[in-house]
């Protein structure tokens, strides 16, 4: 029975992924102080967002046609999706190190897809810090927004968070292809990308000049991570560069981009030429 076998294989794959993740968490727990510091680092890393939120709430009525609660919603959706990205894909932007340490060649000798081994390679504790800040920010935003939560909006919010995580994964995955060719070249770029996404992802892009806003919508699809989903949830469409229908479909952008990035990655993986002699 092919169907039964396929199901069994899927259950086996999930269980194996779970076992690998718990092994990696256990590896981090071997060093308890580092574990605690990791979470703290995650919180501190996002501290600038918290400062920004506090200033926004206490000093300004809003930003670019958005209420302060609306801006907080953008920032919290962006951070929530970043946390989901962190749990599932954080290792992608460390691919250059994985290649340089020769670990990729060990992955190639195991009967598992290489990409899956890359994403399951380590567990990043500081993601819990991201998550803590994201949840705090989200509850702050909810308290200031008088949103009416319909079942559609709840489903849309969840889809947007997953879609946002997939956009970040897609962009980092596409960039990491270069690490398969030349690992030293990409180390700075992944950092730059992370920084750019976290800097511009938290604001309504309408406050930026049109050209920049256009770049961040159509070239580097930052707008689709949190700005457009928040526009849908709050009904704030002025200043967005895409029609309402596209904004409504923004969670799908992540799926499409991620699938495309994975194809690109596989193409490059097949042409991996190894490191050293």
């Amino acid at each position: 029975m092919a169907g039964g076998t396929a199901l069994r294989r899927s259950v086996y794959r999930l269980r194996l992924s779970w076992k690998l993740t718990s092994l990696n968490v256990r590896a981090r727990l071997e060093y308890r102080v580092e574990f605690a510091l990791g979470i703290l680092a995650g919180i501190l890393w996002q501290a600038s967002v918290m400062v920004f939120a506090t200033v926004l709430i206490s000093r300004f009525p809003g930003l670019g046609g958005w209420s302060s609660g609306g801006v907080l919603l953008i920032a919290s959706i962006r951070l929530l999706s970043h946390a989901v990205y962190g749990v599932l894909f954080a290792n992608v932007n460390r691919l250059h190190a994985i290649v340089q340490e020769g670990k990729l060649e060990a992955f190639l000798l195991r009967p598992l897809p290489v990409y899956r081994q890359v994403v399951l390679h380590q567990f990043h504790i500081n993601t819990f810090g991201d998550l803590a800040v994201a949840v705090t920010l989200f509850s702050l935003a909810l308290r200031r927004l008088a949103l009416e939560w319909t079942p559609f909006k709840i489903v849309f919010l969840c889809a947007a968070v997953v879609g946002g995580a997939l956009i970040e994964a897609a962009v980092q995955t596409a960039l990491s292809c270069a690490a398969l060719r030349s690992p030293t070249a990409t180390a700075d770029w992944t950092g730059w990308l992370d920084h750019t996404l976290s800097t511009f992802g938290n604001y309504p892009l309408a406050i930026l000049p049109g050209a920049v806003s256009g770049l961040l919508t159509f070239v580097l699809p930052v707008a689709f991570i949190a700005y457009l989903p928040a526009a849908v949830l709050t009904g704030t469409y002025e200043g967005t560069l895409v029609p309402r229908e596209i904004a409504l479909a923004s969670p799908c952008a992540g799926v499409v981009l991620f699938l495309a990035a994975r194809r690109l990655w596989n193409w490059n993986m097949r042409r991996y030429e190894g490191i050293g002699g």
Partner: protein, 346 residues
């Protein structure tokens, strides 16, 4: 024999890397960005080899000869530029995941174990990854423990293991799923003598008792003499020699000496295989005739038959000496030849 029954077959493998050529200086660097010149570096140039079940083959050659690249093509890590590889009947690059179940590999310098956890946790994880049944796992681990004394240190975090301990755990990890083929790249580098002997014994067992096909690269010629039935010597990406240790000796003009003490003064009959190279009273030293390098055994028989000998001792070049002589010659030949890589502008 069909290709499935021979675990490793490679035919006329080549690998050429394309590297951006960069002229010296700042302007050279700038030019390389805007108008790159590609240089084609042939690293492996037509290597053919096979390994049978229950056979250990040593792949030898100086640094940069193309050994690692050859192993990467055989294991499916990289695709060959031309030529073909079959491992247990599969193309290792195309059927990478399936092929992974047929092979094990230990790269002495690197580990596939989880650094921060006890070695045993890695073994359990690999058991699950390779879907080894629980009974087989226990049985195999017990066997590995008997031969490699793993239980003395498998509860220690891998990062705290000594090199010898770590490599022994890596060997167990590579063989846990009972692969037909084992690749070893410098497995005993940096080990002490006792552990080395233990590992060699283990490998002998894997080959002789379990019928594994093993391909070994090493710089330790003692290891080759102890373990390998066959040697493949590559240099500059080309196969220079393939055969047994004895054949390697005669091919690369290995030399020997026979020291004898004569019990009687006699004349000096001409011998077919040996000539006198030194003489001091009753003590005479023989060496091979320059025109024909005969094996030591033949010469020794001839000397003893021809001379009244009261005492005899022999000296033979080690594999180490042979390789040194050979590589020295090869390096000199390379220097006098012109550069081997082609350049092409794009």
């Amino acid at each position: 024999m069909n290709s499935k029954s021979v675990p490793v077959i490679a035919e006329r493998l080549t690998k050429t890397f394309r590297v951006a050529h960069r002229s010296a200086g700042f302007m050279g660097g700038v030019r390389a960005i805007f108008r790159p010149t590609w240089e084609y570096k042939p690293v492996v140039r037509g290597v053919s080899l096979s390994v049978q079940p229950g056979e250990l083959v040593a792949l030898l050659g100086p640094n940069g000869a193309g050994k690692s690249t050859t192993i990467k093509m055989l294991t499916g890590i990289v695709a060959p530029t031309t030529g073909s590889v079959r491992l247990c009947g599969l193309d290792p690059h195309r059927n990478r995941e399936e092929n992974a179940r047929n092979i094990g590999a230990v790269f002495g310098q690197r580990s596939q174990l989880w650094w921060d956890l006890p070695a045993r946790d890695s073994l359990v994880m690999l058991r699950d990854i390779f879907e080894v049944p629980a009974g087989e796992y226990r049985e195999r681990l017990r066997q590995f423990d008997d031969m490699l004394e793993l239980s003395r240190f498998w509860d220690t975090r891998v990062r705290h293991l000594s090199l010898g301990q770590r490599v022994r755990c890596d060997l167990a990890a590579a063989l846990l799923h009972d692969p037909a083929v084992l690749f070893l790249d410098e497995p005993t580098i940096g080990m002490d003598v006792l552990v080395k002997e233990q590992v060699r014994e283990f490998l002998r067992h894997q080959v002789a008792e379990d019928g594994k096909a093993v391909l070994l690269t090493t710089h330790d010629m003692k290891e080759v003499e102890h373990l390998a039935e066959r040697i493949i010597l590559i240099n500059d990406g080309e196969e220079m020699f393939e055969g047994g240790v004895a054949a390697l000796r005669s091919r690369f003009g290995a030399t020997w000496k026979v020291h004898v003490t004569l019990s009687d003064a006699v004349g000096h009959p001409r011998l077919a295989h040996a000539r006198i190279v030194a003489r001091e009273g009753a003590r005479v030293t023989f060496g091979p005739r320059p025109e024909a390098s005969a094996p030591l055994g033949h010469a020794l028989k001839e000397i003893i038959n021809a001379y009244p000998v009261s005492d005899v001792s022999t000296e033979e070049d080690s594999l180490e000496d042979i390789m040194r002589t050979y590589l020295g010659g090869a390096a000199a030949a390379r220097q006098s030849a012109s550069g081997g890589s082609r350049m092409a502008a794009r």
